[in-house]
């Protein structure tokens, strides 16, 4: 994995050149994005986060000086391979539906001895000045589901309820602009300014969007998790701030993840 880092750096340079070309209007932005993604397939800077997250997973950390290697992400203690493609799901020990981040917080509290507040303290990074452990762990765990088909369960009543609540939240309109998720993601082939908007009410759109998060955002020089994506879309929706790992975030993730079932997971990806 590490041998890719230099290639990743070259890739980023290439990406900026392509981004500049796009700004000059050569070719449609969609084509350009598809091109630079293809060019970078084996040199995504997200690998830096994945590697850091893997180290962190294995290190003895927290007040109890324990690693996360006994953390059960749903497939048994310590099993990381394929775990993300089945999340969110119901966990009997917590007696609730959890997404990846909530589950990581759970393990950090029960196994490493962190307080919940400490485990949730720094969910999103900001370049080199503020590296978020959470986003590194998310990068590592999600990378271990790459190529595996989404298979999010709906067998437990709480999983079914989370899905239905998530659907309601998706269509919930409010705030000064009357916006809901479906305002911007409820139709085919729409864009805001020049930004393409996926139709998340359709299987195709949901699959493509969900399976490409988390993503390294070139414009931000940062790896972004799905929790971050939701947080930032709610900001654009003019809502107050979505709390990290909140119940609404889990329900909404359940709705979108489940709708992506059957599609091959393909992240951490790289995006504009």
């Amino acid at each position: 994995m590490r041998s890719h880092h230099r290639r990743a750096a070259q890739g980023v340079a290439a990406l900026f050149i392509l981004a500049a070309a796009t700004a000059l209007g050569q070719g449609s932005p969609v084509d350009e994005i598809a091109k630079y993604r293809a060019a970078l397939q084996d040199g995504n800077p997200a690998e830096l986060w994945e590697a850091r997250g893997e180290d962190m997973w294995k290190q003895a950390r927290g007040p109890k000086k324990a690693s996360l290697e006994r953390c059960d992400l749903g497939l048994g203690p310590g099993v990381v391979k394929g775990a993300y493609s089945e999340l969110p799901k119901y966990f009997a020990d917590a007696d609730r539906v959890q997404d990846l981040e909530t589950r990581l917080v759970w393990c950090m509290v029960t196994q490493q001895g962190y307080t919940e507040a400490d485990a949730k303290k720094n969910p999103f990074g900001a370049g080199n000045d503020k590296k978020a452990d959470m986003e590194a762990l998310v990068a590592y765990v999600t990378s271990e589901s790459r190529g595996i088909r989404m298979n999010v369960p709906q067998s437990h009543p709480k999983e079914q309820e989370a899905y239905r609540i998530g659907e309601k939240i998706f269509y919930y309109r409010g705030g000064p602009h009357d916006f809901g998720c479906a305002t911007c993601h409820g139709d085919d082939g729409k864009r805001i300014r020049l930004q393409d908007l996926p139709n998340l009410t359709k299987v195709d759109g949901a699959r493509k969007a969900y399976t490409t998060w988390p993503a390294y955002r070139v414009s931000q020089g940062e790896l972004r998790s799905f929790q971050w994506r939701l947080n930032d879309c709610f900001r654009q929706q003019r809502f107050p701030e979505l709390e990290f790992a909140s119940d609404a975030s889990i329900a909404l993730t359940m709705f979108l993840a489940r709708n992506a079932n059957g599609a091959e997971f393909d992240a951490p990806a790289i995006k504009r």
């Binding site: 705030g175 701030e241 609404a248």
Partner: protein
């Protein structure tokens, strides 16, 4: 009064949604899930900057349109929503509907406003270009709404169209129930003068929109 009516319409939608379904426990009805979703939302956000938790409270239009889950409203419901919203439009006291199109262009371009990350002291724009093609010089426009290029040239410059354009910007649901277009005046996003200016952008014969 219209509030009570919309509530009953809302109940009708919910009831219809459940009719024909197998016997479901009360907690799993559509209304039960909607109530849980609302409670969950309210427990999952924190106030930040200018965005308080009151933004999660829905008015009747928002509530009815949310329950439709992106489906177009049935005609009878649409008419009620449109009538109720039309009645709430505040027309300019001076009777003038057109301001300065050049200012209107700036307001239509401005994307800032009302996000918790925005400065509460302003600027607050309308970001019409996020959703509409307007002046042909601006090529970075969105497609959520229809093109407004040549708006008055095609539809006419007369007082009726002026009134429609102002009313549409003030309260878009008055003309198209459950539209995705924000109600800029009704919800206090834009001032009266700002609305006149963007209406001028669409209506003024000198505006690049009509050239």
């Amino acid at each position: 009064m219209h509030t009570r009516y919309l509530l009953s319409v809302m109940t009708a939608i919910v009831v219809t949604g459940c009719a024909g379904g197998a016997a479901t426990p009360p907690s799993a009805t559509d209304a039960g899930i909607a109530a849980k979703a609302e409670a969950m939302l309210k427990a999952s956000f924190k106030a930040r900057g200018q965005a308080g938790l009151d933004r999660l409270d829905q008015d009747e239009t928002q509530r009815v349109c949310s329950a439709l889950a992106n489906k177009p409203p049935p005609r009878e419901i649409a008419e009620k929503i449109e009538r109720a919203n039309l009645a709430m439009i505040k027309w300019p006291a001076d009777g003038k509907l057109l301001g300065d199109w050049k200012n209107g262009e700036k307001i239509a371009q401005e994307g800032r406003g009302k996000q918790y990350s925005d400065d509460p002291a302003g600027p607050v724009g309308a970001n019409c270009y996020a959703c509409h093609q307007i002046a042909p010089q601006e090529v970075s426009y969105g497609t959520i709404g229809p093109s407004l290029y040549r708006f008055a040239k095609v539809r006419g410059y007369g007082p009726e169209i002026q009134k429609y354009a102002y009313g549409k910007v003030f309260n878009s649901d008055a003309y198209a129930a459950c539209t995705t277009m924000p109600r800029f005046g009704h919800n206090g996003i834009l001032t009266e003068q700002q609305m006149k200016d963007v209406v001028a952008l669409l209506m003024d014969p000198e505006s690049p929109v009509n050239k």
